[in-house]
Symmetry: D4
Subunit: 149 residues, 8 copies
Amino acid sequence: MNTWNVYLSGEIHSDWRKEIKNGIEAEGLPVNCTAPVTDHPASDNCGVDILGDEEKDFWKDRKGAQVNAIRTRTLLEDADIVVVKFGEKYRQWNAAFDSGYAAALGKKLIIMHPEEHTHALKEVDAAALAVCQEPGQVVEILRYVTVKE
Amino acid sequence: MNTWNVYLSGEIHSDWRKEIKNGIEAEGLPVNCTAPVTDHPASDNCGVDILGDEEKDFWKDRKGAQVNAIRTRTLLEDADIVVVKFGEKYRQWNAAFDSGYAAALGKKLIIMHPEEHTHALKEVDAAALAVCQEPGQVVEILRYVTVKE
Amino acid sequence: MNTWNVYLSGEIHSDWRKEIKNGIEAEGLPVNCTAPVTDHPASDNCGVDILGDEEKDFWKDRKGAQVNAIRTRTLLEDADIVVVKFGEKYRQWNAAFDSGYAAALGKKLIIMHPEEHTHALKEVDAAALAVCQEPGQVVEILRYVTVKE
Amino acid sequence: MNTWNVYLSGEIHSDWRKEIKNGIEAEGLPVNCTAPVTDHPASDNCGVDILGDEEKDFWKDRKGAQVNAIRTRTLLEDADIVVVKFGEKYRQWNAAFDSGYAAALGKKLIIMHPEEHTHALKEVDAAALAVCQEPGQVVEILRYVTVKE
Amino acid sequence: MNTWNVYLSGEIHSDWRKEIKNGIEAEGLPVNCTAPVTDHPASDNCGVDILGDEEKDFWKDRKGAQVNAIRTRTLLEDADIVVVKFGEKYRQWNAAFDSGYAAALGKKLIIMHPEEHTHALKEVDAAALAVCQEPGQVVEILRYVTVKE
Amino acid sequence: MNTWNVYLSGEIHSDWRKEIKNGIEAEGLPVNCTAPVTDHPASDNCGVDILGDEEKDFWKDRKGAQVNAIRTRTLLEDADIVVVKFGEKYRQWNAAFDSGYAAALGKKLIIMHPEEHTHALKEVDAAALAVCQEPGQVVEILRYVTVKE
Amino acid sequence: MNTWNVYLSGEIHSDWRKEIKNGIEAEGLPVNCTAPVTDHPASDNCGVDILGDEEKDFWKDRKGAQVNAIRTRTLLEDADIVVVKFGEKYRQWNAAFDSGYAAALGKKLIIMHPEEHTHALKEVDAAALAVCQEPGQVVEILRYVTVKE
Amino acid sequence: MNTWNVYLSGEIHSDWRKEIKNGIEAEGLPVNCTAPVTDHPASDNCGVDILGDEEKDFWKDRKGAQVNAIRTRTLLEDADIVVVKFGEKYRQWNAAFDSGYAAALGKKLIIMHPEEHTHALKEVDAAALAVCQEPGQVVEILRYVTVKE
């Protein structure tokens, strides 16, 4: 393994991805991070922006979700490790969907969430090889699995 | 195909599974339905009941979720069609996880949810071959795909 | 093999499926045939009939094609042998799509078409283990592969 | 993902591939495009040119289609994204075959065709994550999925 | 699922398999149990008994292990659930090998062992969906996953 | 496993298949045997008989081999155990091809051949879980792996 | 595709591999060739040379064939295209075994053999996308599939 | 193959990995070696060190084993060849688990162990393409399979 591919799925309203990337850079780890588009309006509108307007929200959402899926499924399938963060806001069904998708593909799953979600996320956690709360823990895991001798 | 296997995932607080099964029986469709354990307390406690107590909720939940996974992953992998219902209450990350798991395995996915969840569930819907609101629509789909000539 | 599963894909405007089924019955072959819905209006309208109207033809067609896909992909994936007939009328991209889908899954492919289509169908034919013109030839192949000693 | 592999299948009688490649180059996208041989006579004759003459067109076509398949199936299986263009002329069963082949392999499918083909291509479209009309839209999708943050 | 297939791997010097089978029968569970040959001398000698003597123990053992593998790999690959028991005696590398084989195939793994082996078996346990000590617990799990509503 | 599927590949000029089937019947083993068409002229001519004459032997042979492949690949892929017999006559590349095909699919392979072929068949034997000389040994193996306790 | 991997299997008693490599180099094709060990005595003796002597030829051959399999199966599984040459001498079951192994993995298969073997090799040829006689034809195919526009 | 990936699993209490790496370097072989963390205390404690303390040894071990699995399963799945060494001490169920995991994935397996373990390891050995005693033999095999012509 020259480089480990890590897909960072889930919450897009805090800077947790940046913290992990900074940690990876600071440690000089052989890790390449990928992510969904985290520009929320762009992500919501990409379907109609590129493929034409829709009157119904259902089809606007479907067009957008499908364009995003071209990116997210490819990156997720290409990853060795998938990290999924559940934040405090929103329903985040997208994050849980990605967790299930990754689990079925045998990806190594790391789940991050506040302790208050422990019961609600128990099926998701049960598919993970690590459950943690902070980006720093993800960096520690990545250091351990990629360069520790 | 003598029999189609359909796994009914998701919400366990309404009688939607029974409505679908009644519809299948009334139509005499060649469909065998399976489901997770829908007795909520039993589902929460199966891990510690069988494998011994835990002081921490995290491990109680893990033990239970893993025992449930023996059942749910086997039935889901054995299914031709997976129906997932999102209700109005609870976070239902489990339902979204099952949707992702089913999608990655190439299962034919039917998603049921109230229209108010359209935007929040757009990634899940985008993986589905049908999105509907009522159990009767699922029965109609099953009739069409299994016996219509 | 107690029973061979054969999926009959393609043209829905002649009675070729019935000829094959009659031949199988007359010979008493251990073959179970499946097919898409061959009621053309039902096939076109199943999406909006079950899941609600659409103003745009594009979405009406998508809804219908996706409901049909629940059936056709399941039956095709379940088949040992896939027979695809290209008729003289229509563009029949659906038939060519099914041929590619079946080829990628390693299904044993039998293609039926009039000789005039030989050049236009050369990539499809090249993925087939038999290319023929008449339903009777399909029956002969099925007899040979299932019961000849 | 250092580079995304995109296979450009379908119509060979317009310069749509060149437009997409120009767009990729202009945007500096990390995308590598591949394609079938687009020299029509070479594609038709490669079998007999290399492997020896045939009297019957059927075998000439088969030899050629099989040599082309060495290339096209390898490139298609190696692709992350498969773009298929249906033009206005010819029957283009080859394009529909490639669409089905790509769909069965779980490739991310983008379909381009004039709106007049919407109904005839509904099963092909239903397997796609994006349906569009112009090469520029493909470039926009590629930009969005490969470099947007 | 009409019947769940459960492969009982590991220790062959106690009657744990019989206890599980008795429990399944007493509860009337839809479970079919399979197992390796538990006649120790037959298992050691099957290779040379059927395929001819060997002077070197290494080849005698190889012949026997390969004949046993015809049975054990087939049954394990056919199982929905794999139960592996580690006893107190012998090195039981065979049991650990089966656990790894089952884990890589995505089988639902239940591990039984005395608590004293917890540390030594931690990698094996980490691949399991349930870890227990007694045959009765396996029966309880099987009852829960196969017939509980 | 209610029934084990065993495909009997290779030599078609002696009655070894019948000996194995008789042994299975005499022992009452839960084994279902399948085989290629063993009527040599029918096997050679099935392609042109059903699909039309060819002037060149190459295409006559291809048509026939492809029709036979519909049968043999299906049965081989459906088998739990594949037995391949190499006789004393003919080149039997077909038998070696089937051995490689079965090995790549992870089938449990039993090879039968006279000892004089040991060196020439070493790569084939190296993929097998048992190498023997007589049909009776195959029956003994089948008895051991299917019903011994 | 930056580089196409081509595995050259089969006959080791003529310089056909060198002719193909020379052709590739002369044309500057983006092709990387691999091959089994073609030093016949080394190939026969590698097992006992490295892992210790055997009295019986059967085990000497098995040890050697298994060591060679570490190389050949890895390279064959890594290849995009597999070329197999059948020469005039020896039984070459190894070449036919590799052909079957490659076919089951969906590799693009090119078979080379003298015309006199057409009937005996018909099942092998039927799995190939090209059948030819001369190394120069393989180079022409490789040029066509890798660099022709 | 530019580089062969070799995963060195098993015993962590002698310097056998270093001997193999030295041999590879001395011979200049195109081989990249990977391994689990061989710092025993770090390996035992990584779970609780990164993810928080546990009172019960069972959960401490599970947390650690799961973090290690992120590394070991990824490297093992990425390997072409898996070498597993069984030493004289400890139960080494981990080594046997890895052997089974590798075997199920079709990895090329080389097993090293003292001759005294021949009988106890017979099922593990039976899944291997080479069984040896010394690191030097592994280097010889790697030289033969990667660079011998």
